[in-house]
C-alpha cells in the first residue's frame, strides 16, 4: 500500500494588495489509506491552504510550487504510481480536476449551513455529485442518496431525502455534507474544521460519524482543526503547522505524550483543561474578607424572562425563561451554554442592550425590567463590556487610542482623545500592550492584541461590573490562554464583579467562582466549579461534560466509552 495523498515540498504564495504573501512553505506530507491525519495550527499557519491544495481548490491569486499527488483508492491499494485515476494536482487541467474531485478526494466544509444550497432538496444535492461522475437514472441516484443518508445516521431517509436544508438541524446538515463527500466512496476526505461551528454535544456526534467514515467506509481523512480535544479524539497521526511550515509530525499518542518541538509543547500547554481552575478559585476564596457572602449582590435576577417578539404570525421566541442568579461584588459568574441557550441575551440585557420582558433584573441598583434609556444611562459608566469578535468591536477608522479613550471622552472625564492619552497609555500598559500601539489602527493588530485593547476599553472607567461575551472564542488557543491569564490578573488587581459568558466549559472553569449552566433558556444547574464540573447533578450538564473532548488521547478514549454509554 502506498500513500493516498503525497504532498511534496509544497509552497503556495498569494498575490495580495500588499505584495506576495507566502502561505505555505515547503510542506511535505503523506496520507495513508484509512488513516486520520490531523493538521493542527493557529489561524494563518497555512493548514487550510495545504488541505485545499489536495483538491486543487486554491483561488487564482495563488501560485503553487511542488507536487500534490492524489491517487485513486484502487491505485493506492495496487501499489501503483500516479496512473489514470489520480496524479499531480498542481499542473492538472480543470476537466481532470473535476474528475478527481468527489471520486478520489472530497471535502467537508466548516459551516454546514452555508455549504448546502438552500433552494434544492438534500437528496438532489447528494445525487448531483453522483450524476457528475457517471450515468445514473433519477431513481438510481435517489436510491443511492437514500442509502448514503441512512449510513450517515439520518433517521427516516426515505422522507428526509426530499427535505430542504433548512428543515435539518446544524448537526444533521453536517451529516448530509459528509454524506455528500462519501457518496462516491473517495479515498480521502478533507474535513476543514468540520465541528468548529457546532455545539459540543453535536460535535461529539459528528466526530463519532467521522470515525465511522474511516472504520466503515475505509476513507482516509485529513482533519484540519485548531481544537486539540478533537485531535485527541479522532486522529491517528498529527502534523503541526506554524507560519506555513511543518513543525512536527507524529502519531497522536506520541505527540501528546512526548512533544518534540517547543512550539508543539507551547500549543499543548495552552489548551485549557477542566480541573485547572479549582486551585485558582480556592485561592480567590481565601483572599476574600469575612462576611463577603452577605454583601448585597451587584446583579440579581429573579425569574428573568426575555422574549423576542415573533415575526408576522409566528409565535414569540422565549430566549430566557425564568432564570434566577446573583453576582456578588468581586465575584466571577461563568455562564455556560450552547448556541441558542440564551447566554448572550442575558449578557446583553445586563448592559441594557436588550429589553427585559418579565421577572426582575437588578443591575447595580437599577431595575432593568421596564427601564428606559434614561434610567440605564447613569449606570453605563459602571459597566464594562468585552465583545465576542475583536475584529468588529472597534471602529475601523479610529486609532486604538481613540477607541480606548471613547468611554473617557463620552463620560466627560476628558475633553478629547488627545487629553486622555496619558490615561490610555496606562490602560494599554495594564493589558500588556506597548503604548505605541495606541497610534495603530484596529486592523493592524492581531486578534489577541485587539481583544486586549478591548479589555482596556472596558476597564477604562474602572467598572464595578464587567460583562465578557465569549471574549476568547474567536482567538487561537495560545492567544486565548494569554488573554485568560490577563483577565485573571486584572480581576485580582481591580476586583470587579464579572459575568463571563462562554460555550467552553474548560475556559469558564479557569476563571469563574461559580458556574451557571443554561439550556434552552433555562438555568439547569448553578454552583461552584467543583460542584458543577466535579459532580454534575443535571443530565444535561453531564452530557455536556462527557461531550467535551479532552486533549489527551488516552483519557479521551475512556471518556468516549463513557459518552457512548451515556448516549446509549
Amino acid at each position: 500500500m502506498t500513500e493516498i495523498v503525497d504532498i511534496r515540498d509544497l509552497a503556495v504564495t498569494f498575490a495580495t494588495d500588499h505584495g506576495p504573501v507566502r502561505a505555505v512553505d515547503g510542506v511535505s506530507l503523506a496520507v495513508h489509506p484509512g488513516e486520520v491525519l490531523a493538521v493542527v495550527g493557529e489561524s494563518g499557519s497555512g493548514k487550510t491552504v495545504t488541505a485545499k491544495s489536495i483538491l486543487g481548490l486554491l483561488p487564482e491569486t495563488a501560485t503553487v510550487r511542488g507536487a500534490v499527488v492524489v491517487r485513486g483508492r484502487d491505485d493506492a491499494a495496487a501499489g501503483g504510481g500516479a496512473s489514470a485515476g489520480g496524479g499531480d494536482v498542481v499542473p492538472m487541467s480543470a476537466s481532470r480536476l473535476r474528475q478527481l474531485r468527489g471520486r478520489d478526494a472530497a471535502m467537508v466544509f466548516q459551516e454546514p449551513s452555508t455549504s448546502l444550497n438552500p433552494v434544492f432538496t438534500v437528496g438532489w444535492q447528494i445525487a448531483e455529485g453522483l450524476r457528475a461522475h457517471g450515468r445514473l437514472s433519477k431513481q438510481e441516484a435517489r436510491d443511492k442518496a437514500i442509502d448514503i443518508m441512512r449510513r450517515v445516521g439520518i433517521p427516516d431517509p426515505e422522507t428526509r431525502v426530499d427535505h430542504y436544508p433548512h428543515q435539518f438541524s446544524g448537526g444533521q446538515k453536517q451529516r448530509i455534507v459528509i454524506a455528500q463527500a462519501l457518496a462516491l466512496d473517495p479515498g480521502v476526505i478533507v474535513a476543514d474544521e468540520p465541528t468548529t461551528a457546532l455545539d459540543v454535544t453535536v460535535q461529539a456526534e459528528i466526530l463519532d460519524l467521522l470515525r465511522r467514515c474511516r472504520d466503515e467506509f475505509g476513507a482516509a481523512i485529513v482533519l484540519i482543526t485548531h481544537n486539540m480535544g478533537v485531535v485527541a479524539d479522532l486522529a491517528d497521526r498529527v502534523a503541526v503547522m506554524y507560519q506555513g511550515k511543518l513543525v512536527e509530525q507524529a502519531p497522536v499518542r506520541e505527540l501528546f505524550a512526548n512533544p518534540q518541538e517547543p512550539y508543539t509543547r507551547q500549543l499543548l500547554a495552552a489548551v485549557p483543561r477542566i480541573g485547572e481552575g479549582l486551585a485558582r478559585a480556592e485561592e480567590r476564596a481565601s483572599r476574600r474578607p469575612a462576611g463577603w457572602e452577605d454583601q448585597a449582590p451587584v446583579v440579581a435576577a429573579r425569574d428573568l424572562r426575555i422574549v423576542y417578539p415573533g415575526r408576522f404570525r409566528q409565535p414569540d421566541f422565549v430566549a430566557v425563561d425564568g432564570v434566577s442568579f446573583a453576582i456578588r461584588p468581586g465575584e466571577v459568574l461563568g455562564l455556560v451554554g450552547e448556541s441558542g441557550s440564551g447566554k448572550t441575551t442575558i449578557g446583553r440585557a445586563m448592559a441594557g442592550l436588550t429589553r427585559v420582558s418579565g421577572g426582575s433584573f437588578e443591575v447595580l441598583g437599577v431595575e432593568m425590567a421596564g427601564a428606559r434609556e434614561r434610567d440605564i444611562r447613569p449606570i453605563r459608566p459602571r459597566i464594562g463590556f468585552v465583545f465576542q469578535d475583536p475584529a468588529t468591536s472597534f471602529n475601523p477608522l479610529l486609532t486604538i487610542a481613540q477607541c480606548v479613550a471613547e468611554p473617557l471622552v463620552v463620560n466627560g472625564r476628558f475633553g478629547s482623545a488627545e487629553d486622555a492619552r496619558a490615561r490610555v497609555d496606562e490602560l494599554l500598559e495594564a493589558v500588556q500592550l506597548p503604548a505605541s500601539y495606541g497610534d495603530r489602527y484596529p486592523h493592524e493588530l492581531s486578534g489577541g492584541q485587539r481583544q486586549r485593547a478591548s479589555l482596556a476599553r472596558a476597564l477604562a472607567l474602572d467598572p464595578e461590573l464587567l460583562i465578557a461575551d465569549e471574549p476568547t472564542s474567536a482567538l487561537d488557543v495560545s492567544v486565548q490562554a494569554r488573554v485568560l491569564d490577563l483577565f485573571d490578573e486584572l480581576h485580582r488587581e481591580l476586583g470587579f464583579a464579572a459575568l463571563f459568558i462562554s460555550h467552553d466549559l474548560a475556559v469558564v472553569d479557569m476563571l469563574a467562582d461559580r458556574i451557571a449552566v443554561l439550556h434552552r433558556g433555562r438555568l439547569v444547574e448553578e454552583g461552584t466549579g467543583a460542584e458543577v464540573l466535579g459532580a454534575p447533578s443535571d443530565a444535561y450538564t453531564q452530557r455536556l461534560l462527557a461531550s467535551l473532548p479532552v486533549p489527551d488521547p488516552v483519557e479521551q478514549a475512556e471518556r468516549r466509552a463513557q459518552w457512548e454509554a451515556l448516549r446509549g
Binding site: 503556495v12 494588495d17 505584495g19 501560485t63 459608566p381 459597566i383 475601523p396 477607541c403 489602527y441
Partner: protein, 338 residues
Amino acid sequence: MTTPATASSRRPLWARVPVVSHLRQSVGLQRGMLVVGLVLTGLFLLTALLAPVLAPYGFAQLRGPDGAFGATQPPSAEHLLGTTQGGFDVLSRLIWGSRTALLVIVVAVVASILIGVALGLVAGYFGGWLDRVLVVIADAIYAFPSLLLAIVLAIVISGGQSSMWGGILAAALSITVIFIPQYLRVTRAEVIRVKSEAFVESARVVGASHVRIMTRHVLRNSTRTLPLILTLNASEAILTLAGLGFLGFGIEPTAAAEWGYDLNKAVADVSSGVWWTAVFPGTAIVLVVLGLTLVGESLNDLSDPRLRKRAAGEEPAEELLDPGVDPAPAVVSKETVA
C-alpha cells in the same frame, strides 16, 4: 471622502485618495477600463475648465469679423465642425456645452449627496415610522419616469424663463430630486449594516449619545460606496440634462450652450443630409457618459476584493521570508513568542 479602511495608514495621503488608490491596485483589463474612463473624464474636465481658451467663438456668437457665419455651413477652415441651423459654430457650442454639463453635474451631485446622505443616516439609524415614511416617498419617486419628473420640476423651478443659472439650477435640482432616493437608499442600507456592528454597540454600552454615535461611528463607516454611485450618477445627470434640452426644457441657446438643445435643433437637419450638427453633440454626450461610467464601474469592481483582479503571485522566493516584507506573520509571532 473617506479612505478605505483596508488601506494602510502608513501609505502617503495621495495614494489613499479613492481613485488613485484604485488605479494603483488595478491590473489588466480592469486597469485598461479605468484608464480609458479617466482619460475621457479628464478630457471632459479640461475642456470645461479651459472653454474660453479653447473655443474659437462664443457659444451665442452668430457673426465674426467677416460677417454672419451662415446657417448649416459644412465643416471648413473657419468652422472646423461646421455651423448649425441657427448659425452657431458647432465646435464652440460643443466646447462651451461641456461647461454647462459640468456645472449641472456638480450642483446636482453635491445637492443630492448632502440631502440624500443626511436623510439616509437618520432613516437608517433611527428606523421606525420616520424610516418607513422616507422609504415610501423614495419608492414613490422611483415609480415616476425620471425624465417626466425632471420636466415637471424644470417647469416649476424656472417657470419657463431660461437664463444660464436659472436653466442650470432647474436642470440640476430636478436631477437632484431623482437622485436623492438613490443616495438615501444606499446610505440607509449601509447605516443599517454598520449599526448592528459590535463597535456601535460598544459605543452604546459606553453611554455615547445618538448624535455622537451617528457622526463619529456610523457616518464615516457608511460612505464607502458613495464615490461609485457618484460617478455613475454623474453620467446619468448628463443624460437627463441632454434629455431635458432635447425635449425643449433646457437652456436657451443665448444663455448657455447645451448639447441636448443642439441635438433637438439638429433633428430636421438629418433628413436633409446635414450630419455635422447632430453627430458631434451626440458623440460628445456618448463619450462623456462612457468615460464616467467606465470610471464608476471600474471603481465598483476594484473596491470589491472578490471582483478585483490581482497580478499573479510571484514564484515563491526566499526573500519573502524576511518578516520586514510581510507584516502580518511578524505580528503573530510577537503574540505567540512573548
